[in-house]
């Protein structure tokens, strides 16, 4: 029984939070939005803190649910990300009439992701995946009066359903071939055969949909653009991070014996994902769309790292996602602030932004630098470790393509910086008031972006709990 509590701690706390929010909802009439937000943010802080305490290792429910140090770290990263998103969304949520529903949906998708990360069985994985996806589609619709928002939700639910279908087909074939769905048994029964490669492609397509790797990326830009900024940042950071965590560990453990089969698939996907993401990002004027395509390109880089399939590969992926959480949320934080206060989301609106909002400009700039992989930000280390891990396989063509793609991506990141710092505007966005919670969120992001790189103990810890394909 003790095991149950210590192993499922993250999930149990989230469930309790969900219940608390539900109770708050019942007594909502008496309290205003701002005090509710304060309570919820406090609870989320507690949730983050509790996540770090007393983590156990073990299995529950006959191996359906696993827990270990790696998974705990992954969940903690997501917890921190959700806290930052919640703090950033304050300005937007303050006036929203369905505040508590927002948090209920948010927490339940997070719960789904936790189950997905901890899953030790394909069924459990699928369950977690669906629990995380369906509330997310509802969240995408949360700008209730905007048509684009409902369009985004619709697109999301359709494409998710489609990808789930493919995934389920793959899972059923797996069961037919091996007679089991548990990861532990599967890893012993999988072998290289044409049918198994086909099954892998089906499962990989399901994953690729969620992490928006090309050619399964088509929903990304529209959904990102239509959703409220808070949901967009959730989609691009938390949702993507969770699926990447699962993908790496499943690939390296369950599919380890098929490494020769999936290596070329991964390389090709990585290259086209980087190139397509970058080329489309070049010409975007809406910042949310721009970040959508840039996040597609980032997935390409991550796939390059994964293709290294060694211990450094897994470490670099977790490390990169951690950095990506901070840098992408830093960028989204500024954009969500501007969007909530002025409704402006286009690149040209940011002309002369530095004149009026120097600090916010620097935050956005440093975040973009980190995304582009420019030192001394942590993104530099994150990206180069990915490439280093990928180069371990000796495939230098792949690495050269990736390195040159970093240069392309630099162009569009610098374009935003150029607009803010160098272009003149007679009517720039006026000086924006930054609330305390938004300040804390941005400060957290900046601290993460700077420290995650220099504090090498962090990387060493991640390395020590990672594993590679044997």
């Amino acid at each position: 029984m003790n095991d149950f509590f210590s192993l499922m701690k993250h999930e149990l706390i989230l469930t309790i939070l969900l219940v608390v929010v539900l109770i708050l909802k019942l007594g909502k009439e008496t309290t205003g939005n701002s005090s509710l937000l304060r309570v919820i943010n406090l609870l989320l802080v507690l949730n983050v803190v509790a996540g770090f305490l007393a983590n156990g290792t073990g299995e529950l429910f006959n191996g359906m649910f696993r827990m270990n140090a790696t998974l705990a770290l992954e969940k903690n990263i997501l917890n921190i990300g959700v806290l930052i998103i919640s703090l950033q969304a304050n300005a937007w949520l303050k006036t929203h009439q369905h505040l508590l529903e927002f948090y209920m949906l948010l927490l339940s998708t997070l719960l789904g992701m936790f189950f997905m990360i901890s899953s030790g069985n394909l069924l459990m994985f699928y369950l977690g995946l669906e629990l995380s996806t369906i509330p997310l589609a509802a969240l995408a619709n949360f700008d209730l009066e905007k048509r684009k928002s409902s369009e985004a939700a619709m697109k999301m639910i359709m494409s998710s359903a489609f990808s789930s279908g493919i995934l389920l087909f793959g899972i059923s074939l797996v069961y037919g071939l091996t007679g089991s769905l548990g990861f532990a048994e599967l890893s012993q029964h999988l072998a290289n055969s044409p049918l198994m490669t086909f099954v892998f492609i089906l499962l990989f397509s399901g994953f690729a949909f969620k992490m928006s790797a090309v050619p399964f990326h088509l929903w990304t830009a529209d959904v990102y653009e239509g959703s409220p900024v808070a949901v967009t940042s959730y989609l691009s950071v938390i949702s993507k991070g969770a699926i990447l965590f699962v993908f790496v560990s499943v690939l390296f453990s369950v599919f380890a014996s098929m490494a020769t089969a999936w290596y070329p698939i991964l390389c090709v996907t990585a290259v086209i994902t980087m190139i397509v993401g970058n080329l489309f990002a070049l010409r975007q004027d809406n910042l949310k769309r721009f970040l959508a395509f840039s996040s597609i390109a980032q997935v390409g880089f991550i796939l390059v790292g994964i293709s290294g399939s060694s211990q450094p590969a897994m470490a670099s992926v977790i490390y990169f996602v951690l950095i990506y959480v901070f840098s992408n949320l830093g960028a989204f934080g500024v954009i969500s602030l501007v969007s909530a206060l002025t409704g402006k989301e286009r690149l040209e609106d940011y002309k002369g932004f530095y004149k009026t909002n120097p600090l916010l400009s620097w935050v956005l700039t440093i975040s973009l630098f980190s995304l582009a992989g420019i030192p001394p930000t942590a993104g530099f280390f994150g990206k180069l470790f990915l490439l280093t891990a990928g180069a371990g396989k000796g495939n230098y063509i792949l690495i050269t393509v990736a390195a040159l793609n970093m240069v392309i991506s630099l162009y569009y990141y610098l374009r935003v910086v150029k607009v803010m710092f160098m272009e003149k505007n007679d009517a720039p966005i006026e000086k924006l008031p930054v609330s305390v919670s938004a300040k804390i969120a941005l400060l957290l992001c900046m601290a993460g972006v700077v420290l995650a790189g220099f504090v090498s103990e962090l990387y060493q810890y991640i390395y020590s709990i990672s594993f590679g394909v044997i």
């Binding site: 030192p375 180069l384 690495i399 162009y411 610098l414 150029k418």
Partner: protein, 499 residues
Amino acid sequence: MNLSLLVLFPVLTALAILFCKGLRQVRAIALAGSAIQLLLAVVLLYFYWAERAAGNMSQMLFQFRHSWFAPLGIEYYIGVDGISVSMILLTAFVVMAGILVSWKMETLSNEFFFLLVFLSAGAYGFFISLDLFTMFFFLEVAVIPKFLLIGIWGSGRKEYSAMKLALMLMGGSALIFVGVLGVYFNSNMGDGSHTFDLLRLSELQIPIESQRLFFPLAFLGFGIFGALFPFHTWVPDGHSSAPTAASMFLAGISMKLGGYGCLRVATYLMPQAAQEYSTIIIVLASIAILYGAFATMMQTDLKYINAYSSVSHCGFVLLGIGMLTKTAIAGAVMQMVSHGLMTALFFAAIGMIYDRTHTRLVSQLGGLLKMMPFIGTVFFIAGLCSLGLPGFSGFVAEMTVFMGSWQHPEQFYRIATIVACASIVVTAVYILRATGKAIMGPVVDDKHLHLPDASWNEKMAAVILITGIVAIGVAPFWLNDLVTPGAEAIMNKVLTAGY
């Protein structure tokens, strides 16, 4: 001596600048910081000599290592030899002068000085690193501040130039990184682990097939920084659009990162490939020298004149590296120092002229020596140094490169040397023409008659740089003796690895 101070001080200065209020405080802090840097560099030189005099013959002095990312074998590993010391001195001189000429930078002064000082931290770190990853880290630190410096405070087509520079240099670093990774994964430490440690890598034999693959990547990457033809195109645009201090940093320091990297990373770690590719390097360098010189003849803008002449002068650096003799490599390093000082002085003078006359076109300038004798003289000295007049550093450095090149008896090398020598005549033409028109000649614009001469800070900047130039020009042997052991170490690698 603790070398980390060289990086730590600029970083602290940069951080202090962020908290300053008003131009006065900012520039006071920046000047104090750069003065300390210069002092540190001179002290470093002194200690270096003292160590050597005491008989310490290890290749790198003042080594310090601290494990950084242990699982990947990344260390913060620093140390200097004579080549690094001379580069550090150059950086310190140029930074101090650059800050002095930006004395009246009123727009966004905090940010401007922050970026300048931050950039210098990257350069110092690069020159002291003995770990390839750390080195690459510092190299990239020194890139992006330039984008902002040019884009925000520049003139003309500044945004285009800034973007072009950033993308080309980042393209260069992308190639460098692939080259570095190639070297890394070919370093078999015996237990399956790899290392970025420069000295240990130089002891391990990298297979010749890998050298053939990764030498071009690394050399080309660093070559882009060092204006290797045909990837020099960022130089004219970048220099001419940049504000004065940024031009000085760009030509005086940044381009030297490339030359230093070509030498220390590409040639030193992959000596066999360096020999195999030396023909191509020499051809490209000769083209750059000659093409740069002729392109300069066609320019009418003073900054473009100096920018194209930088392409030509940096060609000598690459020529010296390509020649692969001890003397030529020593000459290449001396040329880096000399060109760094000279071109910084040139850009400083051009900046001073532009601040007063608001034009950089030779045709609109004339007789400046009458109104501004000091600035005119500075310009003249820079010009004379550029065309290689004995007594200034340019002569010493270029002469050494030629001597080293001539040591090869084969016809190909002789021709390349003669071509390079011939370019000096062209240099004389464009320098004397520009100087004769703008500095000597008749006064063109009556409005120029009442322009003031250099202020104290500008005088100081010029004096600092001229001191360096003359110190090398009149007494070249201290610098020669400083860099020769370093060049010898590299040449030994080439010779022992050779056929």
